[in-house]
């Protein structure tokens, strides 16, 4: 079942198969968690949001009419986007003021404990946290959740070319932030690839 095409998998989920939904969960959980964590910066909050997203997906997939994988991914991330909007409104939290982000950077250590603990990666995550909300959102969708520009355009309700332009600018912003932090190409082997 792990190798089933998405459409066939969705048919089984629609008929009530928990096993099929588990396969769907395995395919999507990290991608959704990464995007949620990019916004919340709290693992528990991100996991709660992902859990609610999957529960809503289970209910919503009955009415979802499959046309393409991209459209389905857009559908799933739209559910998460609504959860994030609700999350922000409930917490009355501004989505990422710089001071708040800096205060919560310490939480990242927990995540970085999972990824290779390179000093450069710490700097990269710190630089990511300092990006604007718009840049973080599109970078997390594209480089953490692996969405195509077409899928990103669907989630953000913008054109595909606008998504590409926004992503290009976000990468430039991240590069400038890293350089400003002192990660240049000469004193860090990893940074040389910037």
């Amino acid at each position: 079942m792990e190798d089933l095409p998405l459409q066939a998998l969705l048919e089984r989920v629609r008929s009530g198969s928990h096993d099929a939904f588990r396969v769907l969960f395995d395919r999507l959980n990290d991608r959704l968690f990464a995007h949620a964590y990019a916004h919340t910066k709290e693992r528990e909050s991100a996991k709660d949001l992902v859990q609610e997203t999957f529960i809503d997906l289970w209910r919503g997939v009955e009415s979802f009419s499959y046309r393409s994988d991209q459209e389905f991914h857009g559908f799933v991330f739209l559910i998460l986007k609504r959860k994030l909007t609700k999350y922000y409104s409930e917490r009355k939290r501004a989505p990422g003021s710089l001071d708040q982000r800096m205060e919560e950077v310490g939480d990242r250590d927990e995540t970085l404990a999972i990824v290779p603990e390179y000093e450069y990666h710490r700097g990269l995550m710190k630089g990511f946290d300092q990006l604007s909300e718009t840049s973080r959102e599109i970078l997390s969708l594209r480089n953490w959740s692996d969405l195509s520009f077409k899928e990103i355009a669907h989630v953000l309700d913008i054109s595909e070319s606008a998504a590409k332009v926004r992503h290009h600018r976000a990468i430039g912003e991240l590069r400038d932030t890293l350089i400003a932090q002192g990660y240049d190409r000469t004193d860090n082997p990893t940074a040389k690839r910037i």
Binding site: H18, N29, F33, Q51, W58, Y120, L124, N143, L178, I194
Partner: protein, 321 residues
């Protein structure tokens, strides 16, 4: 994807395996409400189905019970309403006509049932007139006499109107003749009458039943040759038109022929109908009507006639109401 993007991808937050399983446990738990709602929907559907079944069963019982109703019964209006509905939803004019003929025959059947149940009294003042009309008129009059305390004006009007329809369709509906619908009902009526005659030991009742039986048999003998003529003409022959004109009692209340006297009674004036019935009950023992052709009859005399009938040797079971 450039190097920076690859580096960015490599630091993507991921769930530890235990976190993933814990998250799935939470998701699985959250899936059950959807199943519960589905179950509730099924339960609601089951309960709704049960309620609908009960209501439907009640309706079926009512409809079935109304099918046995006679004039004066509580369910008789329901029976009429169902018949009207069946006529209304019939897809073609031919089927509507067929249904009306069937229902008119049903009226005749009700007359027979009432006559058998309560005994028979009839008006033979039209012996020299149209036998076909007087037969039914006699039976209707007998019915109105029998159930006078309970029957409503509407019931009587409907009965008389139905009888008129019965005659009209008998004369004009070629298809009804071809499939012998009319004759079948008359045969049934005769069979029922013979059965009821055999079943009763009351001599007066047997005599009255025999008279109805003779009248219907005579009517059949007169009509069958006509039916053979009309059966080959789908547009209606002069014969069938003559029958129609002769039997359209509802539409010719001013006809001065003797047979139209009974037809006028069929024309819907139940008060007059009952008055004439009363006059028939006031006749002398020889059977001669005491007030043939009377235009008006005192209702008190009607009651008196009934008392005389009840007090005499020819008392009819059920007529003492």
């Amino acid at each position: 994807m450039n190097d920076l993007e690859r580096q960015l991808h490599s630091i993507a937050p991921k769930l530890a395996s235990e976190e993933r399983e814990s998250l799935w446990a939470g998701v699985s738990f959250g899936l059950s409400p959807r199943r519960s709602r589905k179950l509730r929907r099924r339960q609601i559907a089951a309960v709704s189905g049960a309620v609908a079944l009960v209501l439907f069963s009640s309706g079926v019982v009512t409809v079935y019970a109304s099918g046995q109703a006679l004039p004066g019964d509580v369910l008789f209006p329901t029976k009429l309403a169902i018949e009207h509905l069946r006529v209304a939803i019939a897809p073609s004019a031919a089927q509507k006509t067929q249904l009306r003929v069937e229902f008119a025959a049903e009226r005749l059947q009700e007359v027979k049932t009432l006559a058998y149940t309560h005994g028979v009294e009839w008006n033979d003042q039209d012996d020299d007139g149209d036998e076909a009309t007087s037969t039914l008129d006699t039976m209707v009059s007998a019915t109105s006499t029998i159930v006078l305390p309970t029957v409503t004006e509407h019931d009587l009007d409907h009965l008389a109107t139905s009888t008129g329809i019965f005659y009209r369709h008998r004369a004009t509906t070629t298809s009804a003749f071809k499939d012998r619908t009319i004759e079948k009902h008359i045969d049934e009526a005769l069979r029922d009458l013979r059965d009821s005659k055999d079943a009763t030991t009351d001599v007066p009742s047997r005599q009255k039943i025999e008279k109805i039986e003779r009248t219907i048999s005579r009517f059949q003998g007169e009509q069958r040759p006509m039916l053979e003529e009309t059966s080959g003409d789908t547009n209606g022959t002069s014969t069938s038109k003559a029958i129609e004109n002769d039997t359209r009692g509802n539409d010719h209340s001013n006809n001065e022929r003797s047979s139209s006297d009974a037809q006028r009674k069929l024309g819907g004036n139940s008060q007059e109908l009952r008055a004439n019935v009363g006059s028939s009950m006031g006749r002398d023992p020889s059977g001669t009507p005491s007030d043939v052709g009377a235009g008006h009859v005192d209702p008190n005399r009607n009651k008196e006639g009934m008392r005389q009938e009840n007090g005499g040797e020819n008392s009819i079971p059920g007529s003492d109401r």
